[in-house]
Symmetry: D2
Subunit: 142 residues, 4 copies
């Protein structure tokens, strides 16, 4: 499914490695794992936000911006591989929001990351995470 699935507290998104993802060393270019994780976060939020309009009401100008990302590149992925991005929401404190992510190929863990994002408004200013959104993420974990 295009936007992945949420099950047992984990969002899972399958994706294919294409030519564009690799470099001449023969494997996936390292920065592209961050793209894969971003696709997964976008899809995760999309799946939660069936009621996004209710959550945010008139204050619709919001976005998550990554502030810190700690990345471990463990094993290489190659052209034609089908990978899965697994995302687990972590702590949420005021304006900060943590997410554990990893990219796996079957049983092999290729990449792990901890992302710390903040919610920002249309002018780029940090914005308190609405309690309804906190609850949506918490509901995934329970």
């Amino acid at each position: 499914m295009l936007t992945g699935i949420i099950k047992d507290g984990v969002h899972r998104l399958d994706l294919r490695v294409y030519y564009e993802d690799t470099d001449f060393s023969g494997v996936v270019y390292h920065a592209n794992y961050l793209k894969y994780c971003e696709r997964a976060r976008s899809d995760f939020i999309r799946l939660l936000n069936i009621n996004q309009n209710q959550l945010f009401g008139a204050e619709d100008g919001f976005a998550f911006a990554i502030r810190r990302m700690t990345c471990e590149f463990i094993k290489p992925a190659r052209f034609d591989d089908v990978l899965t991005v697994e995302s687990v929401p972590g702590e949420m404190t005021g304006v900060r929001f943590f997410m554990q992510q990893r990219v796996v190929r079957g049983a092999d863990v290729l990449f792990t990351a901890e992302a710390m994002a903040v919610l920002i408004d249309g002018q780029g200013r940090p914005k308190r995470i609405p309690s309804a959104l906190v609850e949506a993420f918490l509901s995934v974990k329970s």
Copy 2:
């Protein structure tokens, strides 16, 4: 489905527009339509090549390389859009292979291209398209 489907002579691949695909003008960056088309060609060939090993036998070192591409950028796509890449195989003459491709969003045609590729061997030399591959593509059209 991750690799698209072939039906009525057309290969169709659905894909999602993510942050990485857009630029600050608010729409999909023009060169990314070529990436979308390449994903579709890769998937199309993958679907045909269930018997790739039979098709190519020991001569496994082959790849399609794009030699010419004529692109029309008709309407913009935006973040979160679900697009479909439609690919129709065209003429095959010796070493040349033509494909008509377009990117649509529902009934809207956003992008069209005619791609001309050649088959090359591991050393980058043009290589005659094996008759079994010609037949595989022709079987799609009939």
Copy 3:
């Protein structure tokens, strides 16, 4: 120089091929030549537009959008290569603007393209090219 130079009617921009530009086939990924051409167009216009504010006055919301691009991929480029993008402005007719571009490595021509762009306003509507801009481009050619 970061933005290239204009000489004898040609804008020339040097650039380096990095890991990110290549794919696992060992050469520059085809869609990246369109990125190189776009960098050159941006720099070309930047060099012309020392007086951009004068040219456009209050009507500042404008951008060039590519409508058609015909691309020939002639020879491959590789990691570490230094390439030059050469851009020559072509015909301008009302809202349309043509540019011939090619990517060379020394005496080798690797890629050629003819790009057709339109000027659009902030709402994406085609906009007549101001005579001052037409003259700026014509001055390059003479």
Copy 4:
């Protein structure tokens, strides 16, 4: 200069932000800072490796592979900005090699990272960093 300069123990590479680097939020897409840092590392090593053949002799099949990267995204960059990637070599221990990198725009620090790389051979196996390379990096710091 295309490959940057080394001065006072710091490699500095200037680069321009193009359309391709931004996303629809109006600023540089976060993963692209990792591309900028990789360009700088490639150029840094190129500048050191005027004697690369002497350094590595017959064992020429080597590459640096990123194993860990800790990234802080501090302020956004925008289209047309000229950025500078600053790279400072850190500790080298056996097969590991650390580098501090940051992306600045004038006096503003936009991005910082600590990268940990390993030297790998043509088969992807970690490889002891040759003493001549250690010395080349140390000579930059002194």
